[in-house]
């Protein structure tokens, strides 16, 4: 269990970057303890076989005028098991809070399993909070558009996955991710043959 306290005026950046073959159990608690404290949390997972990835976040807005943003996006293929539990607690009196929490997933196979549970507990009046979670499949429209331009199906799927993950790719890790996506797409194609 990872615990961070962010003081007034400071910004904490947390990045999680999980590639195929890696199982992870992340449990993180962040307290925004002084006015103007901020959290930027970005997470990316790419699972292609039997990985288990669990991410639990607890973000406490204890005082007024703090900001938190959590964006977690991932791909679940093979027989991967992914779960996200996020809780934001806005304490009484923590007015001027801005909190955002998003978890979006794409499943590549019927055997992959994704559970996502974003939650808010708000005890203050003047807050801006939003949360959202989705589990979807790769869109047929985008795929067809790319294929109609001559991009082969596997390459188009790679581009689609990279495009979905783009907002959470840590700087300098793009090439590594591209390689992993290529392998994942080829693997899931062979599975379906």
């Amino acid at each position: 269990m990872e615990k961070h306290v962010v003081k007034a005026g400071q910004t904490l950046v947390l990045e999680y970057f999980i590639l195929p073959g890696e199982s992870r159990d992340i449990e993180v608690e962040v307290e925004l303890a002084g006015p103007g404290a901020a959290l930027e949390l970005r997470g990316l997972y790419l699972c292609s076989s039997t990985e288990k990835v669990s991410i639990r976040t607890l973000v406490r807005h204890s005082v007024p005028f703090c900001r938190s943003s959590q964006l977690i996006k991932g791909i679940a293929g093979g027989k991967a098991d992914v779960s996200f539990d996020g809780l934001i607690v806005v304490a009484p009196g923590a007015d001027g809070t801005e909190a955002l929490q998003e978890n979006h997933n794409i499943v590549l196979t019927d055997t992959a399993n994704v559970r996502t549970k974003p939650q808010l507990e708000i005890y203050a009046d003047d807050v801006k909070c939003s949360h959202g979670a989705t589990v979807g499949r790769l869109g047929d429209e985008e795929l067809f558009y790319m294929r109609s331009r001559g991009i082969p199906e596997a390459d188009a799927r790679e581009l689609q996955i990279l495009s979905f993950l783009a907002p959470v790719i840590p700087s300098g890790r793009r090439e590594e991710l591209e390689e992993a996506v290529r392998k994942t797409v080829n693997g899931s194609r062979q599975d379906s043959l």
Binding site: Y145, S148, R149, G150, I151, D155, L159, Q160, L162, S163
Partner: protein
């Protein structure tokens, strides 16, 4: 003898989506260098025709045949059709957030050249070509870095389609309602692009329910599509007839 020379031949084409038959026996021949207009009211099957030609997976051809440059088009995947020189300018171009126009076109060009047995273009050569073609359709060079169609206006999306057409140099271009939602200036840019890309070998199908684009890109032949069939064939005079009396006359 003339049959051999057609770029596209559609024979008694029937197609459906789900249980609904939309095309009910289309026949169409397009010779190299010709511009054909396919006009018709909403729901006539115009977009289904372009979907079937480009191989959209959700449309099913139940009978009939399509020959493209002598090949059985219906046996080819969407990407193979593109490599063979078919291009569709989408009525509603798709947004691909996270994929830049440069990355998108690089993937498309690389696949096309690979299919033709050509080496991939060097980055410098590719960027030069990209800039030339963007200038050609009067697209702001900053768009090269932007994500494909993401946040583009209607006119910008259509211009991006014509840019892609200029990059890929198709033999047969299908412009599906490319004129809809365009103001006159954007329409002229699209029309100039289409006209400038013309060669004696290249053909174009303009699908529209509106005559405006056809004033700038004059078709050789005009077909009226209604309820899944071509109900009239002719020349420019058909457009005048539609202008004055609508599609009900057919």
């Amino acid at each position: 003898m003339t049959k051999m020379n057609n770029l596209l031949e559609i024979r008694d084409l029937h197609a459906r989506i789900g249980d609904k038959e939309i095309l009910k026996g289309i026949n169409l021949d397009i010779a190299p260098g010709e511009i054909h207009a396919v006009m018709g009211p909403n729901g006539a099957g115009k977009s289904t025709l372009s979907a079937v030609l480009t191989g959209r997976p959700d449309y099913e051809v139940t009978s009939g045949a399509i020959l493209f440059a002598g090949r059985n088009l219906l046996e080819m995947s969407p990407e193979e059709r593109s490599w063979a020189g078919l291009f569709l300018s989408f009525q509603y171009p798709i947004e691909i957030p996270g994929v830049s126009i440069t990355a998108f076109m690089k993937a498309a060009m690389a696949a096309r050249r690979k299919a033709a047995g050509l080496p991939e273009l060097k980055t410098g050569e590719f960027m030069k070509l990209l800039k030339e073609k963007m200038a050609f359709v009067q697209m702001n060079p900053d768009f090269a870095k932007r994500d494909v169609n993401a946040g583009f206006s209607g006119g910008e999306k259509k211009r991006n389609e014509i840019f892609q057409m200029a990059m890929l140099e198709p033999v047969l271009s299908i412009l599906d309602e490319t004129d809809s939602g365009l103001d006159v200036d954007a329409l002229k840019i699209v029309a100039d692009g289409v006209n400038a890309l013309r060669t004696p070998e290249k053909s174009t199908i303009i699908i529209t329910h509106y005559h405006k684009l056809l004033e700038y890109v004059r078709p050789h032949k005009v077909h009226v599509l209604k309820a899944g069939r071509i109900v009239a064939d002719g020349g420019y005079e058909l457009i005048d007839a539609i202008e004055s009396r609508g599609f009900d006359q057919f």
